[in-house]
């Protein structure tokens, strides 16, 4: 569904991605690993269309969007920045994004979304009053409000407490069941392994490891990932 060929991205002298080639099938859940600065965020941003690659090709197929604009409609992007307006209420935030997406959601449907992410009854409060975990839950509702086919998540478990982590884990498991294609960057190896169909490790701007879950156990993967980190 998503094909990246030789993606490169430079910021002046600094190379974020050197030549990244990876193929992601429809409905696959990819856990993306790698050190800070290895290129995970850059790759996700390029897939999301937020960043243009310096060279290389990114293709979205099946369905193939007619324009970059349409491509964005297929995707939802969640980073550790929530993209929420702190002075508006949860309902107002969702209403705004719903209108921008052209969704016909009534307020009652939006309230249901708010309940779905475990924030029942707090939809009328300004987001400023929420805890970090609550904001992240609302961010999930916001990012995926338009029910996209592709979910892109950049270290979404950062800063979540136990309850929040449980919630997100359940949410992503549900997304898998629904056949969504997911790419999730994470530092949490066991969690990433558990949710994934495939583990991809980016090191120095290229794909260093690409393993399917069925081919390695968690311990094997952890040791191979650890060896990779030691080499550099």
């Amino acid at each position: 569904m998503i094909e990246a060929q030789g993606l490169a991205k430079y910021f002046g002298r600094f190379t974020a991605l050197r030549s990244l080639t990876v193929s992601i099938g429809k409905g696959e859940f990819i856990s993306l690993f790698g050190r800070n600065g290895a290129g995970k965020t850059t790759f996700l941003r390029i897939v999301a269309g937020l960043s243009r690659p310096s060279s290389g090709v990114l293709k979205i197929l099946n369905p193939q969007p007619q324009s970059p604009q349409a491509a964005r409609g297929l995707m939802g992007y969640l980073s550790h920045n929530t993209a929420l307006y702190l002075d508006l209420t949860a309902l107002e935030n969702l209403r705004f994004y719903g209108e921008l997406h052209g969704l016909p959601h009534q307020d009652s449907e939006l309230e249901r979304e708010i309940e779905r992410v475990g924030l029942a009854g707090r939809g009328q409060e300004p987001v400023r009053n929420y805890s970090r975990g609550m904001q992240q839950r609302l961010a999930i509702a916001r990012a995926f409000l338009h029910d996209p086919l592709i979910l892109l998540l950049d270290e979404p478990f950062t800063g979540l407490d136990q309850a929040g982590t449980e919630f997100l884990r359940g949410y992503l498991a549900g997304a898998r069941r629904d056949g969504k294609t997911c790419i999730m960057a994470t530092h949490d190896v066991p969690l990433g392994y558990e949710l994934a169909d495939r583990m991809v490790v980016i090191e120095k701007g290229v794909v260093a490891l690409d393993l399917s879950k069925s081919s390695v156990s968690l311990d094997e993967f952890q040791s191979r990932y650890g060896d990779l980190a030691k080499e550099s």
Partner: protein
């Protein structure tokens, strides 16, 4: 498409109504400028009515620039701009929504600052008000048409708020010249026919730059 422009406009208005950060700063700054001019123009106190158009528009431009800066500062918190960029809309629509919101903030500020100006400089102005409103409206739209684009340009740089006046004022000079002249015509000469030229000029300016900004906005925002 109109619905989405309205959505962005409404969101900016809503955020502002909650905090009133931007409006308070703009109003206060505008009034401060008036006060400073009162002292600066002491030597020409008798002919102050002639200087009022210039004083007004200096106050408007300075507070308007403050408002423009805030337009994009608000999107920086929590990377809200990223959320907006992920939505499948033409980036130019973002521009139009923001331009309208900036215009409304500026017009509100202008109305209040104008009232203070009447009080400070002891002016009586009644039948001129509709004409003034027209001049203020057209001038403001001209200012925000290019100002919104340049605010996005400045937001890309390290200096942000500091850079915007530096790059905006030379570009927006034609609006200032025309607006001051037009305001002067309404307040001092009452030859309303002479308004046609500056108003047309400012309208053309607005249309030209709104179009340019709509087309170029994408390039400013993308990474």
């Amino acid at each position: 498409m109109l619905a989405k422009i309205w959505a962005i406009f409404r969101k900016d208005m809503l955020v502002e109504l909650r905090t009133k950060d931007s409006l308070n700063a703009m109003l206060f700054f505008g009034i401060v400028v008036l006060v400073i001019f009162n002292f600066a123009l002491e030597p020409v106190r008798e002919s102050i009515r002639a200087a009022v158009p210039g004083v007004l528009w200096v106050a408007f431009v300075f507070s308007g620039t403050l408002g423009l800066n805030r337009m994009f500062a608000v999107e920086r918190e929590n990377s809200c701009l990223q959320g907006l960029l992920m939505v499948p809309i033409d980036r130019g629509i973002l521009y139009l929504g923001k331009m309208l919101a900036a215009s409304v903030f500026m017009l509100i500020t202008e109305a209040v600052v104008f009232v203070f100006c009447l009080v400070f400089f002891n002016l009586t102005v009644w039948k001129e008000i509709p004409w003034l409103a027209l001049v203020f409206l057209v001038g403001t739209l001209g200012f925000t048409s290019v100002g919104t684009l340049l605010a996005a340009v400045a937001a890309n740089t390290r200096m942000r708020e500091v850079l915007l006046p530096l790059i905006l004022f030379p570009v927006v000079l034609p609006i200032i010249v025309n607006a001051v002249e037009a305001t002067g015509i309404v307040l001092n000469t009452v030859d309303y026919g002479a308004l046609r030229l500056p108003l047309t000029f400012m309208s053309v300016f607005t249309i030209v730059f709104a179009t340019v900004a709509y087309l170029l906005f994408d390039f400013v925002l993308e990474d």
